[in-house]
């Protein structure tokens, strides 16, 4: 996957993680572990991907009450909101069967494509993806 470019400086940023819905939810709750990881990645001039379906699900699961906080995340220079590639729809459908939900399928696909891990509260959701070794767990 081509690295995204900073929306401010035009300098390339290296993708380091994909946030799934649980990580986006943790962000809204002020998770220190998630914050530390994104802050470190930002300091390294890196980037995290937030799949659009994960953002939508996080907004829904918080009853649309955390939209301002999610907006802060989405607006940051180190966060890239990405949609699925329509050409991958069959693979995404298969992944949906493996991970249980469409938002997790998007997170898994984008992580595989970018050759990084999915930051998640529960790695067992992704146990059937690439030998179960495509996640980084957080626990706060």
């Amino acid at each position: 996957m081509t690295d995204p470019h900073s929306r401010v400086t035009g300098e390339p940023r290296t993708i380091r993680l994909v946030l799934d819905t649980s990580a986006a939810l943790a962000w809204t709750r002020g998770s220190l572990a998630v914050g530390e990881l994104i802050a470190e990645i930002d300091d390294e001039n890196g980037a995290v991907i937030l799949p659009l379906p994960c953002l939508i699900e996080a907004a829904h699961l918080t009853g649309l009450l955390e939209l301002p906080r999610l907006d802060v995340l989405v607006a940051h220079r180190a966060v890239f909101l990405l949609s699925d590639d329509p050409a991958d729809w069959q693979a995404l459908a298969a992944l949906r069967g493996l991970v249980g939900t469409a938002d997790r399928a998007s997170a898994a696909m984008l992580a595989l494509d970018a050759e990084v891990d999915v930051l998640t509260r529960d790695p067992s959701w992704y146990a059937a993806v690439a030998g179960g070794k495509a996640t980084l767990e957080f626990d706060d």
Partner: protein
């Protein structure tokens, strides 16, 4: 004078505005976790899985 937007500010500063203090120790912890994840990543296995699921989704 230009106003500095949240997009231009570091994540550490943005989090501080939200009441979350990110310390150097916390960043070092995060850096170590990222490096460990990089080291254990099996790129060949992932590439094979991705190729399989893209070419024959039902067999992945």
């Amino acid at each position: 004078m230009e106003q500095e937007t949240s997009q231009q500010r570091s994540m550490t500063e943005v989090l501080a505005d939200l009441g979350i203090t990110i310390t150097d120790e916390g960043k070092a912890r995060a850096r170590a976790r990222l490096q460990e994840a990089d080291a254990r990543r099996d790129h060949a296995e992932r590439a094979a899985f991705l190729a399989r699921i893209r070419s024959r989704p039902t067999a992945a």
